[in-house]
């Protein structure tokens, strides 16, 4: 080690850590740092000297673990201190570097993501059946209102004769199916061919499905598919999953501007992957239910393909249908589940089917509030 040849001298101010009184001192840096003032004498080892963060040329030095601080603005002394005090910028309390922090944080973030992708859906599957029936129905009613207003408040279709046919069909199909609660099926006039299942065993059928269905079995297939969602409690599960995932991602990962994008993309990806499995399960359930009710299991495949083909032809994004992926694959699976046998007669008599298709009155009725009041 080179012994410093010359002594650097400067004036500064000492604060003793007990009072805020400034004490003018002279600093003399030779082999050690001597600080002298009126009634003051400090002798510091250069190895123990630490400097705080300040704006040059102001410099604040002290000893590790000691409240005494000396401030000065002399450049020569500052340079000499940097040269002679090896631990001047050492952070005594810091443990580990930024790299370690970054790596651990990434590991923690990935772990949270994995919980969101794999853990939350599983937890939702366990929790969904535990939601009490009245709670779920009440929630379903609220969601019904929201969904209906999202769809643009389509009028409710309820021609009494047709509604009676529908109710009989629903009762026949769900008899002995062990669904959690009696399903509430409503038809609404809408130009998109789709059906939705909401929490609380609520099924909304949009009227275009009836127009696109060529046989009662096809319509029954759609209903049975939706009852599959009811049986699996998919809507409640989806709500719990969405809530859990957004809670995890937004609260735990923080609100840094970039992470909102991650949260959005993550949620969409998770719900898409999740709903694919749910759709396949509902298909299988639907086929079984349709066959049990005396219908043609493969009819579900026919109507799915027709809706998909027409949507392609129109080139339109058919609203909710984009979460019904891989129509071809699904149709093939449905046909294999349905087997080769076909029942001799359709699910509904010709007259009943004609009545049911007229469930939406030709002209929209007076704009009275629909029976199920949107919240």
């Amino acid at each position: 080690m080179t012994v410093p040849a010359e002594t650097v001298t400067a004036t500064g101010t000492l604060f003793d850590g007990r009072s805020a009184r400034p004490n003018p001192v002279t600093l003399r840096l030779g082999e050690r740092l001597e600080i002298t003032g009126a009634g003051l004498r400090e002798d510091w080892n250069p190895f123990d000297i630490r400097a705080g963060e300040t704006e040059p040329p102001t410099m604040r030095i002290g000893l590790a673990g000691n409240p005494v601080r000396v401030e000065f603005t002399d450049r020569a002394l500052a340079e000499a201190l940097v040269a002679r005090c090896p631990d001047l910028r050492l952070d005594d309390e810091a443990r580990g570097g930024v790299l370690r922090l970054v790596l651990w944080s990434i590991a923690a973030g990935v772990s949270v993501l994995l919980v969101a992708i794999y853990g939350v859906p599983v937890a939702a599957g366990i929790l969904a059946p535990l939601v009490p029936q009245p709670v779920e129905s009440r929630f379903g009613l609220a969601v019904d209102g929201q969904v209906v207003s999202l769809l643009g408040d389509p009028p409710l279709c309820a021609e009494p004769a047709a509604k009676a046919v529908l109710d009989r069909l629903v009762a026949r199909m769900t008899k002995g199916a062990g669904l959690p609660g009696d399903p509430v099926v409503s038809v609404r006039r809408h130009k998109v061919a789709n059906a939705l299942t909401l929490p609380g065993a609520r099924v909304i059928v949009l009227s275009d499905i009836l127009a696109k269905a060529e046989t009662p079995d096809e319509f029954g297939g759609i209903l049975a598919h939706e009852f599959g969602h009811v049986a699996a409690r998919d809507p409640t599960r989806a709500v719990i999953t969405a809530g859990g995932v957004s809670f995890l991602l937004s609260l735990v990962l923080g609100d840094l501007t970039g992470s909102t994008v991650i949260v959005g993309v993550g949620q969409a990806a998770i719900s898409a992957g999740y709903s694919r499995d749910a759709e396949r399960a509902a298909d299988a359930y639907g086929v079984a239910m349709l066959i049990r009710a005396g219908g043609d299991g493969a009819a579900l495949a026919s109507i799915l393909e027709r809706i998909d083909a027409e949507a392609d032809a129109e080139g339109s994004l058919t609203g909710f249908l984009h979460s019904h992926p891989y129509t071809k694959e699904r149709a093939a699976k449905i046909r294999s589940l349905a087997g080769g046998t076909r029942p001799d007669k359709p699910l509904l008599s010709k007259e009943d089917w004609q009545t049911l298709r007229g469930i939406c009155p030709a002209e929209p009725r007076t704009p009275a509030k629909p029976a199920t009041t949107p919240l």
Partner: protein, 424 residues
Amino acid sequence: MDSVSAVPARPGAIVFDRQAKGLTSIAVKGFLLSLVTFGIYRFWYITNLRRYFWSRTIVAGSPGEYTGRGKELFLGFLVALAILVPVYIVLFALGFAYPPLAPFAGPITFVFLFLLGQYAIFRGRRYRASRTLWRGIRLGQDGSALTYVGLATGWWFLTLVTLGIAFPWMRASLERYRIGHTLVGESRMTSTARGSMILKPWLLFYLVALGPLFVSILALLVANDFSFPADLMIADPDKPGKFVFNPIYAGTPLATYGGAVAIVASIFIPLALFLIPYYRARETRAFMNAAALGAARLNSTLKARQFYWPYIVYMLSILGYLAAIGIVIGGSAFLLQTSGLGSGAQVLLVIGMTVAYLGSLLLFAVLYVRVITVRLWRAVADSTTIENVEALDAVLASSRRTASGLNEGLADALDVGGALEIGF
């Protein structure tokens, strides 16, 4: 350089670093690392920023010192999460479990988070104070966060009941409580803040925001003899469940004055937003002037324009940037469409957009720190001097325990005052 930095000429001056050298690298590093660490680095980023700002603020010749640690904030955040997560779940489940409560779940959550937020504001301040040193003397804060919550709740209630008239007195009362429980070593700070000190700027803001609205609503009421026809709104013939304005009332005073109310509201309420920096500057100046430590008093000459300039510069830079990037994106999209390069170019475009998006966020974050935070901080610091600065020499250190990072964790988890705040 020596002439601008170094020790100030006046003994009681407060000055802030002229150049803010090294701040950009702190902000860039902080932003990028926060991005890759899923936001966890933000506690270390805030700590770095605070250390920078504290140490560049020279009070009566001696720079401040921030001894807080990112780790403390992070641990505090984790503890706050452990408390908040069950609370959130209970609040969420409340609506489900107890039907009559369902309509109130939203308001209950809001009130609860408001109370918790006030608590967090006070405790976060305690953490920052206990990590602040000046001339080797540690600052501190005593007083009870629960009392503060009670005070804030009562005053907010009064403010709502009086339609905002009580607002300046609320601000002054809370300021007195905060400053009155702030300690420098053994010495307690005092504040003589009064609501009347900020009544004028508040009334200006209030009158611009609500005055014309009140007048127009009054005119509407008078013109209609304080009564409205029952069939003012009728069911929408196109959309069931929706209501529309009944056309038979078109052209009547009802429609004319109702339209006037809507126009007045849409002009003056946004206009009042532009008065917020003015109000904040006036309030800061009044409260600074009211603060004292023994015989030493603060004296602020803060001008409102010093609070406007940073925002103007920031908005103009962002607008300029957005215009530039809009031209670039529009141009490349046009090129892509005309040349029809296919999917390879589209992938390139998506990558380019992602990079541009992240780059813009980085730029905005750095600009915010460099333009708004620095300039506001400097405006407050440089316009403030200490009178009777010799009285500060008598301040003695205290043996108080320092507050833990848990105090501020809650504030971060709730997003109140977790970020860098001007002054105390």
